[in-house]
């Protein structure tokens, strides 16, 4: 039936090409995870700051970025934004903008869910001790909420890692993009894409296992 002779030699001989891509993937992941998760905290905070207009803007931001595909966002930043503001946008910049803003919108909702899950009594207790609202949030509510958010935040990081592959659509040099290049040079898509898939799998496996572990552990200790 299947008479394909697998030959990984051309892939091993060009591992440096894939390594360059892997570095690009890790770089993009680190920037987008840091920007996305911290910007999400800010957006979530603005949403609940109490002032009407900023909170309305935050809600629109969250809804818009959650309800459009991230690839459309990346391509919009790459092809459309430069015309609007008359600045040249590099592939990496477009990918960072699309993935970070998308992740900010999703993580803002995670922070909100975490903080809202903390009982009212905790706020009241902190207030009774003479803490201001922001002290109560920082010292009492957030540390407890953070534990509950941890599985969802880890999950978001997994999604961000997967999203970095979309940067290949604007020709940013990442692992999948380098795989594409290599497979068309060597005419060996099977071996190349299989290796690329395995590398992604091995990178993501620890994160996925961490989520399972956190869900089990926090689910048990935190009723």
């Amino acid at each position: 039936m299947i008479h394909y002779r697998w030959n990984f030699a051309p892939v091993w001989d060009n591992l440096d090409v894939l390594a360059v891509g892997a570095l690009g993937t890790l770089q993009l992941f680190a920037i987008c995870a840091a920007l996305g998760l911290s910007l999400g905290l800010f957006v979530g905070w603005v949403r609940y700051s109490g002032s009407k207009l900023p909170s309305l803007l935050a809600i629109s931001f969250i809804e818009f970025f959650r309800n459009t595909p991230v690839l459309v966002q990346i391509l919009w930043f790459y092809y459309a934004l430069p015309l609007l503001i008359n600045v040249d946008i590099k592939p990496m910049m477009a990918a960072i903008l699309g993935i970070s803003l998308n992740s900010a919108a999703f993580s803002a909702e995670i922070y909100r869910g975490g903080i809202q899950s903390i009982e009212k009594g905790q706020w009241e207790g902190a207030k009774a001790l003479g803490m201001t609202l922001s002290q109560a949030l920082r010292r009492v509510v957030f540390p407890q909420a953070f534990r509950r958010m941890l599985p969802a935040l880890t999950n978001r990081m997994i999604e961000i890692f997967k999203m970095t592959t979309l940067a290949s659509a604007v020709a940013y040099v990442e692992l999948l993009q380098q795989g594409k290049l290599l497979s068309s040079l060597n005419f060996n898509p099977i071996e190349t894409y299989t290796v690329v898939a395995i590398v992604f799998f091995l990178c993501l496996l620890p994160l996925v296992q961490a989520t399972y572990f956190l869900e089990r552990r926090l689910g048990r200790s935190d009723q």
Partner: protein, 225 residues
């Protein structure tokens, strides 16, 4: 300052409509195959026999742990050489997204099935039902109701993910957008219109899901994730 001009976009609205139809087509096909496949994977994973349990766990973990675009490229560029068949972007997309959503659905099915109290199975058995009957007549009808919001949420995710097919030249909404942008030299307008089209469809769909979740929460039936 950019002068907005939507006229060229309206002139090619038919291409965008065709793209949207293709997006919905791929989404529907992936759901159609993904649902039963997901149930099969879930039942295999829940079974005691290792010959069923292990392969299904492997498929579920591999498809949940690799980026969808890598999967699509593998199915589109690698698989046809491996099995020596003709591959079209549409078939590659339906294959990838069916198996990928099946892997996610399998976990929803599993959570749903496990959420049904043990007493329900025991009662079914006490009435003399066979295990398969207990599953189809007692457990699944209760489980599926709790899974509906999680399914719909996944379907929305799936629709967003289908944009990836544009990278293998399937004429979905995003691919058509690119075509129109090149024809009209109006990428700003076209990409903005497309973003708004996706937003309206997905926003309405997710509001419906929220409403359902809320409704199930009120009636006390609960939902699973």
């Amino acid at each position: 300052m950019h002068v907005w001009n939507f006229q060229p976009v309206w002139a090619h609205a038919d291409l965008l409509v065709l793209g949207l139809a293709n997006t919905l087509k791929v989404t529907a096909a992936a759901l159609f195959f993904g649902m039963p496949l997901g149930l099969t994977l879930a039942l295999m994973r829940l079974s005691q026999a290792k010959v069923f349990k292990w392969p299904s766990s492997l498929v579920i973990e591999v498809f949940r742990t690799t980026p969808p675009l890598v999967q699509l490229f593998w199915f589109f560029f690698a698989l046809p050489i491996l099995v020596n068949v003709e591959m079209t972007p549409y078939i590659a997309a339906v294959l990838t997204f069916s198996i990928q959503s099946a892997a996610f659905f399998a976990e929803v099915f599993r959570a749903g099935i496990e959420s049904v109290e043990k007493g329900q199975r025991e009662a079914g058995q006490a009435l003399g039902m066979k295990p398969a009957q207990v599953m189809t007549r007692v457990v699944l009808p209760q489980a599926i109701k709790r899974m509906i919001p999680a399914f719909l949420e996944r379907a929305i995710e799936l629709m967003k993910t289908t944009t990836l097919v544009a990278t293998v030249s399937y004429a979905d909404l995003l691919f058509q957008t690119n075509e129109v942008a090149q024809k009209t030299f109006r990428p700003l307008e076209v990409f903005t219109v497309t973003a708004l089209i996706y937003f309206s469809v997905i926003f309405v769909a997710s509001k419906i899901v929220n409403h359902l979740e809320h409704k199930f929460a009120i009636t006390g039936e609960g939902t699973v994730r």
